[in-house]
Each structure stands twice: as structure tokens, then as C-alpha cells.
Amino acid sequence: MSTVTMTVNGKSVSGEVEGRTLLSDFVRNNLNLTGTHIGCDTSQCGACVVHVGGKAVKSCTIFAIEAEGSSVTTIEGMANPDGSLGTIQQAFQDNHGLQCGFCTPGMVMSAAALLEENPNPTETEIREYLEGNICRCTGYHNIVKSIQAAAAA
């Protein structure tokens, strides 16, 4: 066991982890931030995407200790300061960009990273960017629409 310290959603946190503890497990189990989801064990689904140092990362692909000292944002950190849904989140609700909601945190985190890089993506660019996020419910149609709406907002 070793102690890891990082900033998560603007707050400094630390916890005891094993060398093999994944960042996704640390966030879910140590911090009880269960918005980050685990949909696979081969780094394929993207349900676990968070931002580390401003970049979208599948949190199941890095160990918690690798995030030592970094600034991490999870879905719980995406709301406006007053607690209302942030622009991307609101666009997902407005455009029915989610059904069961399981892929949704990862989708929102990926969408945020995309719009950071490319504030006006085309439909093709959005679809290609989401290659690493699987949604079984929506057929992606309304996810794409949501991201377009967030870009326009």
C-alpha cells in the first residue's frame, strides 16, 4: 500500500492504494465518485473516461499512483458552480443524448475534451472522436446531436 495524492474536481484528496489499483477503482472506491463507470476490462468502452491534466483518459488504463500530483476531473466536476448542469450536460438532456445513462459520463467527458480541442467539429469529426466510447442504447444519433448543440451553445 502506498499513499497517493491528487486534485479531484478541484479538491485535494489522498488515499491508500495498492500498486495495481487503477485510477477508475480509486475514484469509485476510495473517493466514492461512482459517476465514473466500468464497462469493460480491455480499455475499449470509454465508460470510465475522466480528464487528467485536462486530457481525456480512460481511467481504467492508468494506475492511481500514475496520477500522483495531477489534476483530475470526473463527471461529478462538470456541473456549473451553482450545481446546475453544465453546457454539455444540458445539451445531452435537451437532445435526448442518453437512455440508460451508463455510457453517459464517459461520453460527456470525451465530448468536453473534443470541444476543447475543436470547438466546431463536423458530424464526421464527432463520430471519429467518439470511436473509443461505446453506447449500446442511443445508436449515437442523439449523442452526435447533443455535441453539435453544445458546440453551438
Binding site: 480491455t42 475499449q44 440508460c100 461505446i134
Partner: protein, 787 residues
């Protein structure tokens, strides 16, 4: 389009918690003191267990208990919920389905032992130290040879044939005769590929036991907690309902795979009772691939007889349906009653005979997956019609139109036992031709040609039987459960409403759409209504959500309960206004006496019911709460027409979906935005089946495509945006909302459209290819092109 109530695209209230990371899925629940389960699963498809040595594992750190089949010898096996009677009047073969393997393993993934430990890592480490003396047996994989004889999956059954079902048996000779004498017979042999449902949330089960009250709680990823309570409590563990609570909180998609009662649920419930600690199991995705029930997996030969004008004379189909190693909860009903009964499709074929042989193999059990039987029926029918059109030189749309059941012919009794209540197949086809811009196809095809690509157009229709369904009918057909739905409408003292439903929402949006109905009926705002579901301790016994039944059956129950509420509220209002209840009208949340200006508000009536100072206590009970159980009179019959355009690269065999259009008649629609979303998702799954997805087993019974690296899930860049329309509405005549259900249509209607489109592209491009089996991977398409 209305902006509130029925017909409004109300935004989903559940989204707020899902979007902010506050959803409460089963894996988000941790019970104080819980221990973790790891299942040791078979890595061979078929084997005899000569011994299990748990000695070393039991002494490893953190281990609280190790269980094997012997510990479950006393409890029942997992039951099958539907008994099928074969062509000869015999009951199907029904093997035992133990919670943990007893003596033999029968598929890769079959659980042999389970370790409960303080941490998941400790449970895993200990499971590795369990020594299983396994004698590997030959794997039974190919259905036709399995039926012919040889190795048995279940020795005691003396056959691998579960049943040989004929439908309608009395029609068999007439069908044979019609096919023998037909002007033209089109024959098609095809495989409906095995799929893995892959809801994004893997299954989870947490067992908890309160010894002081002798009460068990199971938290589980289920589409139907009451069904799990009934099956597990009564058949497996013998726990009476009042001592067993099943909770299915937020569930991350189901698509059928979370209907069934699984071994892990029974295990966690029992282990918690034995160890007197909470016990949690979370499936990894790899584990899900080899323990969730799979879907489809039919091998079929279909023959369509036509006269010289292209009118359908008869249909005969022969199907081998894979059951896998055990009978999962509703497995036996899928290739029979959910498949054979749909073989009339949207057409007036007078004679139909369906034969289905259900076969045991050393593979994961196969059960309902989105559409369940109806996609298999639709695929073969719509493919053989396309093939017939090509053989006869007819237009694929014209041949369908000619054979449609006409609007004025409803209600229409098919030769396969269903009575379609309403429909207008001409209207959905007309609409499809418009929204898919079929007139512009030639221009688009010539653009594709300039890029060296072959463009094809695939058309098909579908019908499904949803809202499953009348209990007396399904009981006659072998269902071991009723299929009603329930709702309790509780009006609170100040007028807000809590509805407790037996349905379960795992993406379907009930929390938003059900209030739209009640708000409309009473004339209050939607946010005054709250939907409670998913917990057997606070919802009435209901059968859950599958088969596109929630609004058609559960919604109807809610309407019935609300009607009772309104009737009673009118009596209270009548008392308050000193009028007769017959003269009271409810409109926009206000009760008035017809022909007067007297009125009293909804809130005042509700308060009076709970503070009955001025109240007809001699005639009416106080309070305002009603329950209704609704058992439908028939299935509902959504139907539609779909069109897909593809480009095929003849150099590589790669298929691109250029466009996909769907017209669906769902009857009345409560929330168009939600309905669009359901269709989008269904289409994506159907396109996935047609082009990418395949659960591939090798001859040793190893699942070759057992992770998302090998099992190709459709991703955002594999799909176009869809054009969907549900403006053609012929309301259902036998439920109070006139709704038909929309959850499965997309997955049922889309695979034949895609395959028809690829074959159209190839044939128009000069390649004479009559069929390619799904998934139409580049290598399969390339091989077909290159002979």
C-alpha cells in the same frame, strides 16, 4: 404536437442524475461489511468433474468461504419459465440447471466454484488455488450433428434435442402440397448469427441477510425484480416472498439479457444467508461474454411459394435453434411462440408451416435479445421475399405491396394464430418512399459509381407482436407466469402523485413518460407525478419490462388505476359541491358541476380525502390510493417499413451505411423524442448484427470473440444519422392508450434492410450473389464477390 402531456417531447427528468454522475447503479451500492465473490468458471466447453480440491484456497488470506456444487445440492436449479409441447404432444426436454456445476461443466463460463473473500483480489487469488480434476469431453457444437447423435450435453436426457415443434401442425400437409404445386418456389438457407447483448453495464448481484428478521435482500441488475423474486424465492431457494426483497436500482441497459434469473443472483443471496455477511459480485466484461445469455443463433431453411403474379401462396420454414447448454428463463419461447407466430409478416400468405428443432450444445445459454424471435422471423421472411423478387424480375417494393394485408381487412386473422388488430402497411411504405427519397436513388448510385463504389438499396417491412400479453393465452401456450402489469397510484394529501409500477426502466424513460399520461388525465403538471419502480418492497407485483410492453401493459394498468382515482375524487368533489357525482366534470385539474360555475380544485379534493372533516364517511373511505392490474386482451402489432442505402467497395468488400430510414406505426405516441431514441438504438443494434457482431465459437467450444477487441460493437463512426418517422398511426384498439410499444422495432426491422441493400449493390454491380450470411464483414462480402 402538444407541448405537455401525451404527445409532448418532455425532457427526461432522470437525465439530471445520470448526467451529473449521481445515478445509482447496482455496482454503486456497497453494503457495510460486504465481502466479494469471484466465480471459478470452466475454461473447457464440456467436461466431467472428478474432484475439486479447495483445501489450499480455503486457507488463503481473507477467504470467508468457498462453495461448490455440493453446497447447492439441496437447493433447486434455475427454472425455465416456458414449457413448449412438441409436434407429437410431448413436453420439451428440461434438464437440471444447477447454480454451481454438479458433476459436469457444459460451457466455457459454467461456474464450478465460488470464493467469498474480504477483497476481490483475495477472492481471485484463492480461486486460482482451487484444484479441479477435470476430464475433458468432446464439445457438442454443431446443431445438426448434435441432433443426429453422438456426445450428449445432458446424459440423462438421452438426446440433444430439446423439442421438435410444428406450427400449425394441422396445416403441414396443405403447405407441403401448395409448395409442391406452386408456380415458383424460392428457397433460402441462412444463419441468424449468434449475438451477445452487451448492455454497457455488466451484471452485478449483492446478497444481504438480516438474521434477526430472517430477511434476505438481493440488489441486482434486473429488468424485472418481481420475476426474480418469484423464480428465485419459490423455485431455487425456497424463501417466501415476505422474507425476500429484490431491488433493481438504476440499470444500465438490458435488451433482454437482464430478464432472466441467473445463477449469480441465487448464489449471492444464499451465500449471504450462509455466511451472514453481505456478498457482492460484479461481472467483468469478459465474464459477461461467457455468462450473460446470448441471442439469436438460428440455422434456417425457408421456402416461399408464389403464383405467376407474385402472390404468396405458402411459406414453409425449418429452423434449428440453439438453446446452449441449459434452458435460460424464457429461452424456449423465443424460437416458438415469439417466432413462428410472426411468419405471416405484413402479408396475406394463406398457408404457413413452421418447424423448429431446439438443440442443446456446449455453449452459453441462448435467450431473448431485443426483438427475441421476431427479428429471426422478419429476417428470413424479408430476405426470401427479396430473393423471390429478384428471381421473378419483380420490384421488391411492388411484390410487397401486392401481398400486403389491406387497411380495411383488419382485424386480420393470420394462419399462424395471431389476430392483428390494426395497421396500414401501404401508408408506412408510402411514407418510407418519401422520407428515404427513393426517387433520388439513381442519381446517388451514379455518384457512387464515379467513386468506384457499388450503391444498393434495401427495403423491407416488419411486424411484431408486442406488449406481451394475455395471461390466459400465454398460459395455454406454456408460459409458467402471468403477463399482466400493475400500478398503484398514490395521491398525496396535497395533490402530488406517486405511481408505483411493476415495470422497470433501464433506458426506456418511464420516469418521464408515465407522468405525461397521468398529468393529461387529471390536468396537473407532469412534475407533480413521481414514478417509483425497481423495488419489490414498495411496488405491486408486476412482470417487468421487456417485449415492448411497458406502456402498452404497464401504462394501461396506470390508466386503469388513475380512472379509479378520478371516479372517487369526483364523488368527493360532488360531496363538497353538494351535487351528484354524475354531474362532475374534471378538466385542467379542476372539478366542476356541469352547467354551473361551481368548481373545486384538484388539491382541495385530495386534501379533503386525507383530512376528512367534511366528508361522506358513511359512503366513502378516506384516502386516495388505487391499484390496478391490467391483463391485455391481445398482443399489440407495431409494424413498419425500413430502407437502407449502402456503398460497397468491390475491391475490399467493405460496406458503408450511407443512410437509413425507418417508418414505424406505433399507434399513439406518448413522447416522440423518446420514441425516436428507441428506434435509433434498435437500428444501431440491427446494423451491428447485419455487419459486425458475431459470437464465434471454435469447434472446441471456446468463445473466440469474447471481448470488445474481437466482438465488434457498432461505434459512432460506423453509423450514419437516421431518418425516422412515426406519423402513420393506427391506434391499438384494445388498450386504453391506443399504444403499441416501440422498444424492439428498430432491431427487428433493420437487419434485412442492410443485407438486402448489400445484395442489391452487388447484383446491380453485375455480381450474381443470392445471399451472404450475417455479419456481412468485408471478408465475407469480398469472398462473395470473388466467387
Amino acid at each position: 404536437m402538444s407541448d405537455k402531456g401525451i404527445g409532448a417531447s418532455s425532457k427526461r427528468r432522470e437525465d439530471v442524475r445520470f448526467l451529473s454522475g449521481n445515478g445509482k447503479y447496482t455496482d454503486d451500492i456497497n453494503v457495510r461489511g460486504q465481502k466479494y465473490v469471484h466465480f471459478l468458471r470452466s475454461d473447457v466447453a464440456h467436461g466431467k468433474i472428478n474432484g475439486i480440491d479447495t483445501g489450499e484456497a480455503a486457507s488463503m488470506p481473507g477467504v470467508a468461504g468457498i462453495f461448490t456444487g455440493a453446497d447447492f445440492a439441496e437447493v433447486g436449479g434455475l427454472p425455465c419459465g416456458w414449457q413448449v409441447t412438441d409436434r407429437f404432444g410431448e413436453a420439451m426436454k428440461e434438464p437440471a440447471h444447477p447454480v454451481l456445476a454438479q458433476g459436469k461443466v457444459r460451457h466455457v463460463g459454467d461456474p464450478i466454484a465460488a470464493v467469498v473473500a474480504d477483497s476481490l483480489e483475495q477472492a481471485r487469488d484463492a480461486a486460482e488455488a482451487i484444484d479441479v480434476d477435470m476430464e475433458e469431453l468432446p464439445a457438442v457444437m454443431d446443431m445438426k450433428s448434435a441432433v443426429a447423435g453422438g456426445t450428449l450435453v445432458h446424459d440423462e436426457l438421452e438426446t440433444n434435442l430439446c423439442y421438435d415443434w410444428g406450427f400449425v401442425e394441422e396445416n403441414k400437409d396443405a403447405v407441403d402440397e401448395a409448395i409442391k404445386n406452386a408456380h415458383h418456389v424460392t428457397t433460402l438457407e441462412l444463419v441468424n448469427n449468434r449475438l451477445v447483448p452487451n448492455a454497457m453495464e455488466p451484471r452485478v448481484a449483492i446478497g444481504d441477510y438480516d438474521a434477526s428478521n430472517d430477511e434476505s435482500t438481493l440488489y441486482t441488475t434486473s429488468q424485472n425484480p418481481h420475476v426474480i423474486r418469484l423464480l428465485m424465492g419459490a423455485f431455487v431457494l425456497q424463501i417466501p416472498e415476505h422474507k425476500l426483497r429484490v431491488v433493481a436500482p438504476d440499470v444500465g441497459g438490458g435488451f433482454g439479457s437482464k430478464i432472466f434469473h441467473y445463477a449469480e443472483e441465487a448464489f449471492c443471496t444464499l451465500a449471504a444467508r450462509k455466511l451472514k455477511v453481505p456478498v457482492k459480485w460484479t461481472a467483468s466484461r469478459s465474464e459477461a461474454f461467457i455468462s450473460d445469455a446470448h441471442g439469436r443463433d438460428h440455422v434456417t431453411k425457408i421456402e416461399l411459394a408464389l403464383d405467376e403474379k407474385g402472390m404468396f401462396q405458402a411459406v414453409r420454414t425449418d429452423t434449428y435453434a440453439n438453446m446452449g447448454a441449459y434452458l435460460s428463463t424464457f429461452s424456449t419461447s423465443v424460437p416458438t411462440w415469439l417466432h413462428g407466430t410472426l411468419m405471416a409478416g405484413n402479408y396475406k400468405t394463406p398457408l404457413i408451416y413452421v418447424n423448429v428443432k431446439a438443440v442443446f450444445t456446449n455453449t452459453v445459454p441462448v435467450d431473448a435479445y431485443r426483438g427475441a424471435g421476431r427479428p429471426e422471423a422478419t429476417f428470413q421472411l424479408e430476405r426470401v421475399i427479396d430473393k423471390a423478387a429478384r428471381e421473378l424480375g419483380m420490384d421488391p417494393i411492388e411484390i410487397r405491396r401486392k401481398n400486403f394485408i389491406q387497411k380495411e381487412e383488419f382485424p386480420y386473422a393470420t394462419p399462424v394464430a395471431l389476430e392483428y388488430d390494426t395497421g396500414d402497411y401501404v401508408a408506412t411504405m408510402d411514407k418510407l418512399q418519401e422520407i428515404a427519397d427513393l426517387d433520388g436513388f439513381e442519381a446517388r448510385a451514379s455518384e457512387s459509381r464515379q467513386k468506384g463504389l457499388l450503391r444498393g438499396l434495401g427495403i423491407n417491412c416488419y411486424i411484431e407482436a408486442c406488449g406481451i400479453a394475455p395471461s390466459n393465452l400465454v398460459g395455454m401456450l406454456g408460459a409458467r407466469a402471468g403477463l399482466y402489469e400493475s400500478a398503484t397510484v398514490r395521491v398525496n394529501a396535497t395533490g402530488s402523485i406517486t405511481v408505483m409500477t411493476g415495470c422497470h426502466s433501464h433506458g426506456q424513460s418511464h420516469e418521464t413518460t408515465f407522468p405525461q399520461v397521468i398529468a393529461d388525465m387529471i390536468g396537473i403538471s407532469e412534475d407533480q407525478v413521481h414514478i417509483q419502480h425497481g423495488d419489490t418492497s414498495n411496488t405491486p407485483m408486476g412482470m417487468g419490462t421487456y417485449g415492448s410492453r411497458s406502456i402498452a401493459v404497464g401504462g394501461a394498468a396506470m390508466v386503469r388505476a388513475t380512472e379509479k382515482i378520478i371516479a372517487k375524487a369526483k364523488k368527493i368533489a360532488a360531496h363538497l359541491m353538494e351535487a351528484s357525482a354524475e354531474d362532475i366534470e374534471l378538466k385542467d385539474g379542476s372539478f366542476s358541476v356541469v352547467g354551473t360555475d361551481k368548481s373545486v380544485g384538484w388539491g382541495d379534493v385530495c386534501l379533503t380525502a386525507y383530512v376528512p372533516h367534511n366528508y361522506p364517511l358513511d359512503q366513502l373511505e378516506p384516502g386516495l390510493e388505487e391499484t390496478a392490474f391490467y391483463d391485455p386482451a391481445n398482443f399489440t402489432y407495431p409494424a413498419g417499413a425500413y430502407a437502407c442505402e449502402v456503398e460497397v467497395d468491390p475491391e475490399t468488400g467493405k460496406v458503408d451505411i450511407c443512410s437509413f430510414a425507418a417508418t414505424d406505426d406505433f399507434g399513439n405516441v406518448i413522447n416522440p423524442m423518446v420514441v425516436d431514441g428507441q428506434v435509433h438504438g434498435g437500428i444501431a443494434q440491427g446494423v451491428g448484427q447485419a455487419l459486425r457482431e458475431h459470437a464465434v465459437y471454435n469447434e472446441d467450444g471456446q468463445l473466440v470473440s469474447g471481448t470488445f477487441m474481437d466482438y465488434s460493437m457498432p461505434r459512432a463512426d460506423d453509423l450514419p444519422s437516421f431518418v425516422v418517422d412515426h406519423s402513420c398511426q393506427t391506434p391499438c384498439t384494445h388498450n386504453p392508450l391506443g399504444v403499441k410499444g416501440c422498444g424492439e422495432a428498430g432491431a427487428i426491422g433493420s437487419p434485412p434492410a442492410v443485407v438486402n441493400a448489400v445484395l442489391d449493390a452487388l447484383n446491380k454491380g453485375g455480381y450474381n450473389v443470392s445471399h451472404i450470411d450475417m455479419p456481412l464483414s468485408p471478408s465475407r462480402v469480398w469472398s462473395a464477390i470473388n466467387g
